[in-house]
């Protein structure tokens, strides 16, 4: 695949992911455009590869952000009695007993 089409694919991919960005898709898409147009004059193939690698890293980061966000929301909704909270309550009760 040519570098140009890899860049275009990366942009499309990021644009797609930005559609459900928590801060609003417009916010994300605006910044996405700025980030790409900032490097529009880059000619060196090695530098372009580096930039693509950075973009792919951002894709992974956003994927992780989305899945963590969903996991946390589910955990908060359905697993209210968190282990940490249970142990903290126990500790507190014990310390009250001692008083």
């Amino acid at each position: 695949m040519s570098l140009r089409s890899r860049v275009v694919d990366l942009y499309k991919n990021l644009y797609h992911m930005g559609k459900e960005y928590p801060g609003g898709s417009k916010w994300f898409h605006d910044r996405l455009k700025i980030a790409f147009s900032k490097n529009k004059d880059v000619q060196d193939p090695n530098q372009i590869k580096q930039l693509i690698a950075r973009g792919e890293f951002v894709v992974k980061e956003i994927e992780a952000l989305y899945s963590l966000r969903k996991y946390r929301a589910m955990k908060q909704r359905y697993y209210e009695k968190d282990d940490e909270i249970v142990s903290a309550t126990q500790k507190f009760e014990e310390s009250v007993k001692k008083m």
């Binding site: 499309k12 991919n13 928590p22 966000r69 969903k70 929301a73 589910m74 009250v96």
Partner: protein
């Protein structure tokens, strides 16, 4: 092993739910929908088993209105091989119960000979978590509910670790079986753009509910849908001893 995975189209988890003024239900029109998060986990497990060569085919299933095709496409993008959409109208879809879904799944399983049915432990809209146990009962198959780990158990069995109150429970179930996925089973993958494009070529079969001859007349009646009570504002205390005294007074800590 051929696995059937049930997926439900629900109001997206990040959407703030609004109740209709006449208290008959919640707003669903113009609201973002997505695949039930627990069904995503069930699907991911089926796809993982296929990647480990323990399963041969993963088929996604959904019972719902015309828009349920969207979540089936997502399921195909996430790794399902085929999809089956049992169609009802939007009005009927709102009144479907776990029993109807289980009945439909039973029909599909009997027609196409599946070895396992994977479902989410519950849907985030009605939270009934009944489909998996009802289906196991109808098919007379063993069930592994609230699974947090799935392994090969050898000689036609699967070893499933379940999350129960106060610990873990490990069961060995004979294939064919019904499984429902708990939150900690795996981390579902993201449907990437190239995979969404590829999914458009995968087969999606449409079956009208009338063709299966299943009666979906509701057995329950929704009387009223209301918001949960609003949490009352808290107060401030001056120091620790005042706080402890308050807690004792309310009976939150043993005096």
């Amino acid at each position: 092993m051929k696995i059937l995975v049930g997926v439900k189209r629900v109001v997206d988890y990040a959407v703030k739910i609004r109740i209709m003024p006449d208290r008959s239900g919640v707003f669903t029109e113009g609201v973002q929908h997505s695949m039930n998060p627990f069904d995503e986990i069930a699907l991911e497990e089926a796809v993982k088993l296929k990647e480990k060569k323990l399963a041969t085919e993963v088929v996604a299933f959904s019972l719902g209105g015309p828009k349920s095709a969207e979540v089936l496409r997502t399921a195909l993008a996430k790794g399902a091989d085929k999809a089956i959409h049992v169609q009802v109208s939007d009005a009927e879809a709102g009144k479907l119960e776990s029993f109807h879904v289980a009945k439909t799944l039973q029909k599909i399983v009997e027609q196409e000979k599946f070895d396992a049915v994977f479902l989410g432990k519950q849907a985030i809209d009605d939270d009934s978590s009944q489909t998996a146990p009802i289906l196991a009962g109808l098919l007379d198959w063993p069930q592994a509910l609230y699974a947090s780990k799935v392994e090969d158990g050898g000689s036609g069995h699967m070893k499933v670790t379940r999350e129960i109150d106060g610990g873990l429970d490990t069961v060995k179930v004979k294939v064919p079986f019904v499984l429902s996925a708990d939150l900690r089973l795996n981390e579902p993958r993201y449907a990437t753009l190239p995979n969404i494009m590829k999914a458009k070529k995968k087969p999606l079969k449409n079956i009208p509910i009338t063709e299966l001859g299943i009666d979906i007349s509701p057995q329950t009646q929704t009387i009223e849908v209301t918001e949960p009570p609003v949490r009352q504002a808290g107060g401030f205390v001056e120091d620790v001893s005042a706080l402890v005294a308050k807690l004792k007074e309310k009976g939150f800590v043993k005096a």
